[in-house]
Structure formats: C-alpha cells, structure tokens
C-alpha cells in the first residue's frame, strides 16, 4: 500500500545518478543527486524548550535522523548494485530496509518542519481555511487535539500519528503508522507527531501523555496550513 509509492520513487532516485528531484509530495525531504541528506533544522536544538529538551532534539536530529539517512542511502546503493547484476532477489531483500529508513527520513523531515518554537510560529491555534476544515471534519480544534492524543496513546510500540488530507475529497483525517511507515498513497501528510520513545523519553520517561500534551505548544500551524492549501 503506502510503501509502494515510496519504494518506486526512492528506487528511481537511486537508479538515476542525476536524480536531483525530490520525491513526489515530499518537498522538504532532501535527496541530492539520488543521495538522501540530513536537512538542517529550521531552529536551534534548544528552541523548543521547555516542551522538548535540547538534548532530545540534538540526539533525535543529529543521531537518529542521520541513521535513517545513512540507512536509506545504503539500501538505495545495494538496490543499484543488485540491479546492475540483474539480481532481483538481492534487490527485493532491501525493500523492508528502504521502507524503514526511507520512511524514517521522510517522517522526520516533515516533523521538523511542522514544529516551531512556541510564540515564534509554534503553538496557538490554526486559522483560516485550515481551521474551517478542522471544524468541519473534527467538530473543533479541541476535538482534533483530543482525538490525536487518544490515537497517540493507543499506539502499541513505535509509530507516528498524522493529520492527513485525502487527496481526492480534500477532507481531513487522523491516521497512525507503525515503525517508520510513511504516509503516502491517496493521503497527504499535513502534521506528524513522533510517538517513538526516543522522541520524549529523556524528558518525560514513561509519562508519554505529558509529552503528547506539550507537543501542541510547538506545532507550526503556518506550515501545516501551507501543506493543506498546496
């Protein structure tokens, strides 16, 4: 399902050495010359405090996201090598790694952009067309928050919750994804919240509900609205 598109486009990026085009619909995900690269954070590591600690942000970006970048590049290279040898089996073996690391790269790239320091683009409430759509599809902004927090709390293991837009109907919805499965197919990811333990454990430990409560103080609604109206 959702992984198919990713595989295909990441595969293409890997095969064409000159492919500098970002993956469809993933404008913020950097792939240069078919290589994934770690995007710069649009704010300092400490800028989301006290809601997300500087230590978490630094490890999350510099270590975890970097590992996904390395992993997706390794998978793409291995697929290229396998293809050069006509070894379909070896190429297929990389598919789960491509989905996992490629998904990790995509998800984190979207996540950094849909966060912002509180009072400097982060927190507050959505406005304009996005707010109208939220009111229509969730009843109210408060309901959206409640439903998102319930979805996040219900994730059994590592995963993400996403506010998404159905590309056909334009309606908003809420989905969760396990591991690093990216949102794709007919759903446009508008805002993601990382529910992996590494996203909050150093600061919130087992009290993940507190993290889910605090993250709303740093949601970049301007960025979410831009994705919505695209």
């Amino acid at each position: 399902m959702s992984a198919t598109l990713l595989r295909t486009s990441a595969l293409r990026a890997g095969i064409r050495a000159s492919a500098a085009k970002p993956m469809a619909g993933m404008a913020s995900t950097s792939f240069v010359r078919g290589k994934a690269t770690l995007p710069d954070l649009p704010y300092d590591y400490g800028a989301l405090e006290p809601h997300i600690s500087g230590q978490i942000m630094e490890l999350h970006h510099a270590k975890h996201h970097q590992t996904y970048v390395n992993g997706v590049n390794a998978a793409i290279e291995a697929i290229g090598d396998a293809q050069a040898k006509g070894d379909a089996q070896a190429a297929a073996k990389q598919a789960p790694l491509l989905n996992f690391h490629g998904g990790g790269h995509i998800n984190h790239s979207l996540f950094w952009e849909n966060l912002a320091p509180n009072g400097k683009g982060g927190g507050g409430e959505p406005t304009g067309k996005l707010l109208t759509a939220i009111n229509e599809d969730f009843g109210s902004f408060d309901n959206l928050k409640k439903q998102t927090n319930a979805a996040l709390a219900g994730i059994q293991g590592s995963g993400w919750a996403w506010l998404v837009k159905d590309k056909t109907s334009g309606t908003l919805g809420l989905v969760t994804r396990m591991g690093q499965d990216p949102v794709s197919g007919n759903l446009e990811p508008l805002m993601g919240i990382d529910a992996w333990e590494h996203a909050y454990y150093l600061q919130y430990q087992n009290r993940k509900a507190e993290y889910f409560g605090a993250i709303w103080e740093v949601i970049n609604w301007g960025n979410v609205a831009k994705r919505f109206e695209k």
């Binding site: 490890l59 270590k63 975890h64 590992t67 789960p96 996992f100 059994q156 293991g157 590592s158 995963g159 396990m178 591991g179 690093q180 992996w196 333990e197 590494h198 454990y201 150093l202 430990q205 087992n206």
Partner: protein, 212 residues
C-alpha cells in the same frame, strides 16, 4: 465468570543490582512503571472481556483481543526478562551454569561467541519496538525476534529474551543500542536459561501467577 487478577512480580534483585550494565533508574522505571502498566491494562482488558463473554457480546470480545495480546504479552515478556537477568557478580551470570544449554548452542552455532554475534545482529535488526528471544522448539534452538509485545506462546520454550524497546536502554545508552546489546551479556542468567532449556513452555510460564 470470575477472572484472575495478575500482579507485578517482585524483582529477584535490587534495582541497582545490574549496574553498570543497566542503570538503577532504568530498572526502576521499567519494572515499577512500564511493567505495572501492562499488568494494570491486562487486568482491565480481562475484566471487560469477562463481562463481554457473560453477555455473549462477541464483537466486544473480538475488539478486546488486541489489548489482551499487547498487555498480556507485555506482562509475560517482562516477567520472563527479569528472571533471565542476574547481577554480573553472581555465579549464575557465567555460562558454566548452563552446561547442557551451552553444549546445544555449540552444536547449533559453533560456539557461544558465534551465537552471541548472531543474536546481537538479530537484536540490532529489529525495526521499532520488539524483543529478541532464544527459544527451543521440536527442531532445537532458534533465535526469533518479535515485534512490540508479541509473546512467544506457540509452543516454543523461551530460554531468554532481550527487550529492545527504547525504554529498556535509552536513559543510559541513548541512541547507542549496540553498546546495550553488548553489555546485556554481562547480566544474562544462564542458570535460569539452563532450567528453561531443560523444561517445557509451561514451566517457563509458571512465573505468571494470577491471584483470584
């Protein structure tokens, strides 16, 4: 129908007894918070299941199965895990305490070192939350990984498990999970492993007692 209430088993050692391999802070949160949450949510799910069952509410019974699997799995996995760890200073932490099991490991993987290397690779290959287990089945010894809290309950005997959820190591090892995987070997309880190897799956699960 009355249902049993599961409870958090006491750790067979102090929270700080596995240091420096696993910090006391991790052990305390892991046991008193995470494991407790699985126990609490398992009991809640079983109670709801019992109500649904006595009112012949099959949709509700089906709806509750995932909560039972996840929280029951969490309770089973952690109960087995605590028992298959021991302070590094204990004689039980030496492979000498598992002569029969070690002979079987040698036969399967060539040596304990080569087994450890294979096990570590399996642990580090887990994508997301999960566990790695050494199990015994009709064919012999095997390494399996399970996602999230899926328990090993299909007839295999769990010999020992290693928790690869980030909460099991993150406060101490951060993103350096390879170091956690390396150090866990210092605190594996080979005596428990030997006992489980010689016993049945039922014997291994006997630690899971419910109070009625």
């Amino acid at each position: 129908m009355s249902v049993g209430t599961y409870y958090l088993p006491a750790l067979p050692y102090a929270y700080n007894a596995l240091e420096p391999s696993i910090s006391a802070q991790i052990m305390e949160l892991h046991h008193s918070k995470h494991h407790q949450t699985y126990v609490t949510n398992l009991n809640n799910a079983l109670k709801s299941y019992s109500t649904a069952s006595s009112s012949n509410d099959i949709p509700q019974q089906i709806a509750l199965q995932q909560a039972i699997k996840f929280n029951g799995g969490g309770h089973i996995n952690h109960s087995l895990f605590w028992e298959n760890l021991t302070p590094a200073s204990s004689p039980d932490a030496k492979t000498d305490s598992a002569p029969t099991l070690v002979a079987a490991i040698d036969k399967t993987w060539g040596s304990v070192d080569s087994f450890k290397a294979t096990f570590n690779k399996a642990l580090l290959g887990i994508q997301g939350s999960g566990w790695g287990w050494l199990v015994k089945d009709a064919q012999g010894l095997r390494i399996v990984t399970t996602k999230d809290q899926d328990p090993v309950v299909s007839g295999e005997v769990p010999i020992f498990g290693v928790d690869m959820w980030e909460h099991a190591y993150y406060l101490q090892y951060l993103n350096g999970k390879a170091a956690y995987v390396e150090n866990i070997w210092n605190v594996i309880n080979w005596k428990t492993a030997e006992k489980r190897y010689k016993g049945s799956a039922q014997d291994a699960f006997s630690v899971l007692k419910a109070s009625l």
